[in-house]
């Protein structure tokens, strides 16, 4: 998957036009940009600052403060491994190590082919399924080292078939 650095301004305007020009919508707009572009492109930061008439630095500080936002493109599939307490004591670290090994990326990074990003999250509130992992909003409960390999291979096969 190639990463395209130029952005579609029509898409961006469509997002902005949904919101009134009020500061309180900054986070909501950034969330929409993140969903649409899979990251917060630099151009979008400048554009949004102008639209809301607030300094670029403020948008930048928002984009770096909130974990849901990323200044670099995220992978096609986002793997979230829960490291809440219940998952931690049922061995979530073993899962994280396994994924690091399998994909050769650290938490917060994206694979070279742009297929996966790995994120560690603090409690998804699905403690009964501990240890739990979520890929693109699909939950995988009671995960083991062995099951991880299977799941990741499914996504790989789907992408390269």
């Amino acid at each position: 998957m190639k990463i395209d650095n130029s952005i579609d301004y029509n898409q961006l305007s469509n997002i902005l036009n949904k919101y009134k020009q009020e500061k309180r919508f900054t986070l909501a707009i950034l969330q929409d940009i993140q969903t649409e572009f899979n990251y917060i492109p630099k151009e979008a930061v400048f554009h949004l600052a102008e639209y809301l008439n607030i300094p670029v630095s403020e948008i930048y500080s928002m984009a770096t403060f909130y974990k849901a936002l990323s200044l670099t493109p995220k992978g096609k599939h986002i793997i979230k491994v829960c490291n809440g307490t219940a998952c931690h004591i049922r061995g979530s670290n073993i899962l994280i190590d396994e994924i690091k090994d399998l994909l050769k990326i650290k938490p917060g990074e994206t694979t070279a082919d742009g297929l996966f990003s790995l994120e560690i999250v603090n409690c998804l509130g699905a403690c009964a399924l501990a240890p739990v992992m979520v890929i693109d909003n699909k939950y995988y409960g009671a995960m083991t080292k062995e099951k991880i390999m299977e799941v990741i291979n499914e996504y790989k096969e789907a992408a390269y078939d």
Binding site: T26, F65, A86
Partner: protein
Amino acid sequence: MIKENRKILVCCGTGCLANNSYDVYTQFLEKLKNTNIEVIPQVKATGCNGLCEKGPVVKILPDEISYFKVKAKDVDEIVLKTILKGEIIDRLLYFDLNDKKRIVSHKDANFYKHQHKIALRNIGEIDPKDIDDYKKRDGYKALHKALFEMTPDEVISQIEDSHLRGRGGAGFPTGNKWRTCSNYNNNPKYVVCNGDEGDPGAFMDRSIMEGDPNTVIEGMIICGYAINSNNGFLYIRDEYQLARKNMQIAIDSAKEHGFLGKNILGSGFDFELEIVRGGGAFVCGESSALMASIEGNVGEPRAKYIRSVEKGLWDKPTVLNNVETWANIPPIIINGAEWFKEIGTAKNSGTKVFSLVGKVKNTGLVEIPMGTTLRELVFDIGGGIIKNRPFKAVQTGGPSGGCIPAEHLDISLDFDSLGNIGSMMGSGGVIVLDDTTCMVDLARYYMEFLSEESCGKCTTCREGINTMLNILNNIILGKGKLEDIELLESLSETIREASLCGLGKTAPNPVMTTLKYFKNEYMDHIINKKCPAGVCKNLTSYSIDKEECIGCGACAKKCPTSAIIGEPKKPHIIEQDKCIKCGSCFSVCPTGAVKIGGALIESYNK
């Protein structure tokens, strides 16, 4: 066996959904469409039933039959046997491990028997997307009563008299908050719902927002009426997608039914409600940070010289309550303060929802009267520890709370008792720990969590937590020194004193309480270079006791690195240079012959 008003309730909370309960739901719809039944039962996708461990859960009413771990392929059989003939399918019933028997109705199961549901009263019973379901169970009756039979002042008095305390953690009296806010005449005022549930191990708010969103909305409108506010915000955590979806559906239908918007039910009172999606920052669960986030700022807390009831959102008087608190408002208005006070203890009226997780048999959501003991919660309701291992402690209150050791098992679960022993109620997460949980590692885990989530505003919190984390990391690696203990204690003191918000002030709690109750574990790590729980890899080794080993070979089969050798029926040994200390042999050994030792100094073939 045709029954009128028959209902099939399929749990579609996050836990059950992950186990494919939606397939079960659609399979029921499909099957019933093609079956020749005179009275077709209603099939409903409900919110969480609590016992997520045994999901997907299917309940059949009015027969009161509950099936657990139901798969889509079981649906045919359920329709054929249970719906058509009234037969019970034994294998799908709840099996009580301790009593060794199957139970037909979930209401007879120990997990549910001791519960008293107020905040969770509708969850699992209604389709959260259908406002009529909510209305059939007294929904919006409290709003009607408040608007037409009570003055705003009477509403506040009712909440004051009920002694309801904020369920978000601090336990501040809700009525006081409303009263103070109502006394300020600085409009507009705001009503805010804190749905930024972030404590690891707590998911009651998610469950309420997903399973009964209307009760939260109703509670907020009543507050708006009481304090003279026309605008409310629901701040919902970024990770809770389903909660946001169900909440939005509920807001839209409440508008259609005239419960929200202009001139509610013809009373002349207006109230608008809006969802704000969080950005994935734990600190935003702190009220002033949450408000900053709604305003479109970075979620940093501020000093609270002036309380938010006077100057909150956009510096206007604001009442902020937690999801579970809002869910308690409608029943109190309908049934009255006296009814509420009869439940729980004198200073802690009502119930509390706990999420019981960790090394406990029945993981799930539990609502019990305040004052229930920890022992009842863990052993009667929770069914005890997985594999009947020894109970070590529980951690309550998330990263701000502390651990409670076995000697305090008979403590009453309420705000004051938990505070007295150095822990706190928090949002109600109860994480059960057994002998295979390392308390030093647990403290380290929370410090790591907090070091990532500290917003960085206060130096003590930003740098102090990091320093504590480094010290704990060293102890775990076997590089700990005796003076580290003292250093941890003095850092704790400083962070507690000099940080601005709740996150920093309570951050040292996990370290302080583990030091208080489990100092010997720290000492074992520092002096004996041993992790008694076998968690810290550098300080652990496994060996097999020759006398106790029966040579069954279970460990050798399980060992991922083939480090265990031995002939059948003869004592086995572990080749230490191959061992990766995963602990598989320890958990699989039927005779307890695998022993946990400290860091290895002697060679394995000695």
